[in-house]
């Protein structure tokens, strides 16, 4: 009986894969060679190609990552920043996964080392590297190639990863019957079976599905309450704010309307973050095409794009132009911001919060997501709220929460995920408040899982403080 079920799942996924492959111009490579934008962090102007005659010793490859590989001087700052290398004896670290592996596979040795699948895609190495080596881009490319060319498509691991990566698909189905889905997904025997059959750890609780999604609320509300061609933003709510925490999306809308913005909510898919982390680049590209098309349309109407999830904003800003060559993708990257970041740039948030006060004193244990760090946002919540009457905001340190999106949702990674999270759990317990705060939905899951705290998003507190 169980075997039969698995086969059906296999078939379904396989059909999906075939459909995807054929709809993707039969590309044999995992990535499509965004050569123009593949120079990573270092602007081309920094290296003057006229000053030397490079010998092309590493021909081929879909993305030109040579400049990045050459910039590595082996200081190992990336390895030191890696939360996985700190707990996983099997993981050789980002320096190997990035520049070293890239060189190795230029020549005869084409296979990608399987350990690439242990990288959690936290992208801390990008920020750690003093030489702007595009480490996460190299990891994404290698992981994509591994999954595409070396991973058994009928394996339980592949199927499980595909399901995790395509969270939006599961969430959309679950949202049709949210109460039933929440109960069913957390029903003991089902979870034991999922652990055994798919490798999804039974220790974790699935997030609750909202009875009304954000988009349903937006539709019922009649859309935007403010019209303002001068100040317009397009909200990229992502999957989680739509299906699981619409209160974050509602807070975004109310706060932005408070500041006089017209909010647009364009059609959108998944940002791609969980797909990159699982090497499912074709899935990511399919969603990226939808996102670029509709968000660029909004940009043409004068809007900037705002995300409330820091992984979504990072994906649109960094991974999109690094991995895909889609018309308009650079415009999208340039016009995308995180919600609080945008207000800090364009509004006098300090002034607006000067007279704000909350009904009762509230203390928060704030965790900065890794993907927020990469955008320079690691201090924004603390700095925005530290002068607000009645708010105590404590930073619980610079460690990774350990869940890294789908990483902690794999049975074989669960223990490692919790070991990485240990420091954060300890610091949360030490903090004065017993409510957690973070911008990232999966960090929030981990924070709640490790401490039992309620976790909120900075936008929700901003909404309350502004009485928006």
């Amino acid at each position: 009986m169980t075997g039969h079920t698995t086969d059906e799942t296999d078939d379904a996924v396989q059909r999906d894969v075939e459909r995807t492959a054929s709809s993707d111009d039969e590309r044999s490579a995992a990535t499509d060679g965004g050569v123009e934008s593949a120079s990573g962090g270092a602007p081309a102007a920094e290296l003057d190609p006229d000053a030397y005659d490079p010998v092309d010793v590493f021909p081929g490859g879909d993305l030109d990552l040579r400049e990045g590989a050459d910039s590595c001087y082996k200081c190992t700052s990336c390895d030191t920043s890696c939360p996985v290398a700190e707990v996983d004896d099997e993981f050789p670290g980002p320096k190997f996964q990035g520049p070293e592996q890239w060189r190795l596979k230029r020549k005869e040795d084409h296979d990608i080392d399987e350990s690439i699948t242990s990288c959690s895609n936290c992208m801390r190495c990008d920020e750690a590297c003093p030489s702007s080596v595009p480490l996460s881009q190299m990891h994404n490319e290698a992981r994509g190639q591994f999954v595409e060319e070396q991973m058994e498509k009928l394996s339980v691991e592949y199927i499980r990863n595909r399901i995790l990566a395509n969270y939006r698909t599961s969430a959309r189905l679950a949202s049709l019957t949210p109460r039933l889905a929440t109960v069913a997904m957390n029903f003991g025997p089902i979870r034991v079976a999922m652990d055994k059959l798919l490798g999804i750890p039974s220790e974790r609780d699935f997030p609750e599905f909202a009875t009304t999604t954000f988009r349903e609320w937006w539709r019922d509300r009649g859309g935007a309450k403010v019209t303002n061609p001068e100040k317009r933003v397009a909200y990229f709510h992502g999957c989680y704010s739509n299906y699981n925490t619409p209160e974050v999306g509602k807070a975004m809308v109310r706060v932005y309307e408070h500041f006089g913005y017209e909010v647009l909510v364009p059609k959108q898919g998944c940002s791609g973050t969980p797909m990159f982390a699982n090497g499912m680049l074709k899935d990511a590209r399919r969603h990226a095409e939808t996102n670029v098309e509709h968000l660029v349309e909004a940009i043409d109407d004068g809007a900037d794009v705002i995300a409330s999830c820091t992984s979504c904003s990072l994906s649109l800003r960094q991974e999109y132009p690094e991995l895909f060559d889609i018309h308009g993708i650079d415009d999208l990257a340039e016009h995308t911001f995180e919600a609080l970041e945008y207000l800090r740039i364009h509004e006098d948030l300090r002034g607006a919060l000067e007279d704000a006060s909350l009904d009762a004193n509230q203390s928060f244990a704030y965790h900065a997501p890794c993907h927020a760090r990469n955008q320079g946002l690691e201090r924004q919540a603390v700095e925005t709220f530290r002068d607000v009457d009645g708010v105590t905001m404590e930073d619980v340190g610079d460690s990774c929460s350990g869940i890294s999106g789908t990483y902690g949702w794999k049975s074989e990674k669960y223990e490692k995920s919790m070991q990485i999270g240990d420091d954060m759990f300890d610091h949360m317990e030490d903090a004065e408040g017993d409510v957690g705060m973070t911008e990232c939905p999966t960090c929030a899951m981990q924070m709640e899982h490790g401490t039992g705290y309620e976790i909120r998003h900075p936008l929700q507190l901003l909404e309350e403080a502004l009485d928006a």
Binding site: S77, D79, P92, P130, I345, R373
Partner: protein, 456 residues
């Protein structure tokens, strides 16, 4: 609209942090931006001030013509540097006139170190005296240093207790026996022996020191034994074994590579000392460096406590000047979007050639953020001399500044009134040979921050 602050500090290393806290203490609203995570993670964690005064004149006139990269038999000859110095302050007067210490004076160094002492508290030692301490490095030399982490305290060379240095085969850059041999050959006043012990072999061959530190922090099970106990058990036989190698009885202290825990390092050292019945110390290593990482944590906490706003991960890509040449705002690249950051004054603390605060190619050496003038010989062959350890002109390249640390143009005039320059981006010091990198950052950071706050 711009992101505005009173003082905007560019650079997240020791100089930038010092400048930011120094400005904040003057009441300014300070923001610090840094292109990447702090390079303190690569620093040894030792705080040097001035260990040597290298000669700037060769023993005999240099051969005419361009250097030959050592292919010429007619070698440069340079006198030995003056040092190791007991007192850094005494020697400041003998440094070149454009040295940062000569610009800001010995008092600035004293104040910078005092600020550092205050920020680091019990985590650092050395503040009780003006004298340098001699701390063993992982290369087996002794480094004259003004402040050292508490974890290195029991290892000072002035201490005559017998010493065992332990190493691990998987840490290839750290050879305990060679290290002990070099210390011995250097004439340290104590018995010393080195031994390679079996412990790190439990981890993968190319394991990261952060992995070992984490295992000790958490006291993880290593093949069934808690990590700290396992490490002590691995070292214990060598406390007396070392007799054969170094004529030492049961040693009084044991030196480890600097990987004894991260967050829990004090507890890890205490437990090891207890189990071994000997004092325990760490020998600072090259990058990646746990003492550097711990210092980074301490100082970034201090930044937050001082009310400084900071953000990392974004480079400065441009600037706009007012009519009088002062900087109105910087343009920061926030993941593809240029955002103006306005400030009354700017502190540039972006580092030197290694830290990428200075850039160089065949055409010249430039300061890439504000295009400040970097004095240099126009002839590239005059940037360096044959002897790698000689007086290399390039080592002193950097922005020239007045005593208020305002940048100077090619005519020696202040180029931007509201800019202050601090740390390795300043010219005039050869910090690697002088052992002065931290002191220069602290002294100039302190003055630059205070000066910048006065512009507000």
């Amino acid at each position: 609209m711009a992101i505005d602050s009173d003082v905007l500090v560019v650079g997240g290393g020791l100089a930038g942090i010092t400048a930011a806290i120094s400005a904040a203490r003057e009441g300014a609203h300070v923001r610090l931006v840094s292109h990447k995570a702090s390079t303190l993670a690569q620093a040894s964690g030792l705080i040097d001030a001035l260990g040597y005064v290298p000669p700037t004149e060769p023993s005999k006139p240099l051969r005419e013509g361009p250097p030959t990269a050592g292919r010429n038999l007619d070698r440069d000859e340079w006198p030995d540097p003056d040092g190791p110095l007991a007192d850094p302050y005494d020697a400041i007067a003998s440094l070149p006139a454009d040295h940062p210490y000569r610009l800001v004076g010995g008092d600035a160094l004293r104040e910078g170190l005092a600020l550092f002492d205050e920020l680091t508290g019990a985590a650092y030692h050395g503040g009780h005296t003006d004298q340098n301490a001699l701390v063993p490095t992982f290369g087996g030399s002794l480094k004259p240093t003004a402040r050292y982490p508490t974890s290195a305290k029991a290892g000072l060379a002035s201490d005559d207790r017998s010493t065992l240095i332990v190493g691990f085969r998987s840490l290839t850059e750290y050879d305990a026996r060679a290290l002990a041999g070099r210390l011995d050959a250097g004439g340290v006043p104590f018995e010393v022996a080195g031994a390679e012990v079996e412990f790190a072999e439990a981890f993968r061959a190319d394991t990261k020191i952060t992995r070992i530190a984490k295992a000790l922090d958490r006291d993880e099970q290593i093949e069934g034994t808690p990590a700290r106990e396992a490490l002590a058990a691995a070292v214990k036989p060598h406390l007396t074994d070392a007799i054969d190698q170094g004529d030492v009885g049961r040693v009084d202290r044991v030196g480890f590579p600097a990987f004894l825990g991260d967050d829990e390092s004090t507890a890890v050292r205490a437990e090891l000392a207890d189990r071994l019945g000997a004092a325990v110390f760490e020998i600072p290593m090259g990058p990646p460096s746990l003492p550097g990482l711990r210092l980074e944590d301490l100082l970034y906490d201090a930044l937050a406590d001082a009310g400084v706003s900071f953000e990392t991960g974004m480079p400065v890509v441009g600037y706009e000047t007012d009519e009088d040449g002062s900087i109105d705002h910087l343009l920061i690249d926030r993941k593809g979007t240029e955002v103006p950051y306005g400030a009354e004054s700017i502190v540039l603390a972006t580092g030197g050639l290694v830290g990428k605060g200075l850039d160089s190619d065949r055409e010249g050496v430039t300061e890439p953020v504000l295009d400040l003038h970097v004095p240099q010989p126009s002839e590239r062959y005059e940037w360096f001399v044959d002897d790698a350890y000689g007086e290399q002109p390039y080592a002193r390249f950097g922005v020239a500044a007045d005593e208020r640390l305002r940048p100077l143009d090619q005519d020696g005039e202040v180029s931007h009134d509201n800019v202050r320059v601090a740390g390795a981006v300043l010219g005039g010091a050869d910090v690697a040979r002088e052992k002065s990198a931290s002191g220069v950052s602290l002294a100039t950071g302190l003055v630059a921050g205070r000066e910048a706050a006065m512009e507000v």
